[in-house]
Symmetry: C2
Subunit: 181 residues, 2 copies
């Protein structure tokens, strides 16, 4: 029995896992984003609706995100670069996992910080076929203050990584189809 409270409703997640075992079609989610070109390499992307648990769902609020290139790429820097959004997703996913696993293990968290760095040789996107377009590698460093030993904290992070959607999406290939309507 634990009194740890990290704000994660672990029982609901365990119940969902059990329920979805018997109803795999409800586990099929579709996440959606719509973007609009603004000017130059600046675009605005909106997220509001998704599909899951067999029906259309709506986020509490519509979210809007600006993407651009920085001044060193001769652009206007109206938002972060597209590839930086991958780091946002990775940090958020691993942190959510740490909180969830900690709750499930009865570990009280006090603070969780992550610093993410992606190494990127930009010769690829500029047209050098011998250099990949994406990240050469990404490093995540956690600073966690919790009611737990260092070994327990490392185990939290390892389990978070093992079940992270974004970690998987970055470390393993995903089929991406791009077409013109």
């Amino acid at each position: 029995m634990t009194t740890a409270d990290n704000g994660v409703n672990v029982q609901a997640l365990l119940d969902a896992r059990q329920a979805l075992k018997d109803a795999p079609e409800a586990a099929q989610f579709t996440w959606r984003a719509s973007s609009r070109w603004d000017h130059g390499v600046h675009s605005t992307t909106t997220i509001e609706k998704f599909f899951g648990l067999g029906q259309e769902q709506t986020h509490k609020a519509q979210s809007t995100f600006e993407a651009d290139h920085p001044a060193v790429f001769a652009a206007e820097d109206n938002g972060i670069t597209p590839i930086e959004y991958l780091l946002v997703g990775l940090a958020g996913c691993l942190t959510a996992g740490v909180a969830s696993v900690a709750q499930n293990r009865g570990i009280q968290l006090r603070s969780v910080e992550a610093h993410v760095e992606g190494q990127h040789d930009i010769r690829g996107i500029l047209g050098d076929g011998d250099v990949r377009n994406g990240y050469e590698g990404i490093k995540v460093t956690f600073n966690i203050d919790a009611d737990a030993s260092r070994q327990e904290i490392e185990a939290l992070v390892a389990q978070s990584q093992k079940r992270s959607a974004v970690f998987d999406a970055l470390t393993n290939p995903t089929d991406v189809t791009v077409e013109v309507a």
Copy 2:
């Protein structure tokens, strides 16, 4: 000769490509994000500085992003889910590429919209080892109005995909290291 103006400084990019051929160390960029756990699976990620062209760089403004899980995951929906951030990055990257390639080819764009959908079987993140944690697949559909034939528009999109940092990061594996400080 073209009078197309999509707002992309293609000459600067072509100059950069040439300059970086002779100075590959300047092409080594490090993109960075820092996140802080808020409560539950809610976290806040900040992006401001990066390294490139051999020195520290700063975005025009600091950007802050909220990540959370939606109500159907028994969470508070204070932001989009981490895995949705990947769709934001993908849309922004391919759109920037379309604008850049169009500029380089002298094609005037009038509007570019993209709709991105990621298929996600959430049984993976809930612990089913037979289901992957990340996306099963992603589909991007472009609606482009431009001073060009359908064939030219399809070629723009194909070339954008070929040089997209985020498309590469999602379709090919990247080494991601996660550690506790």
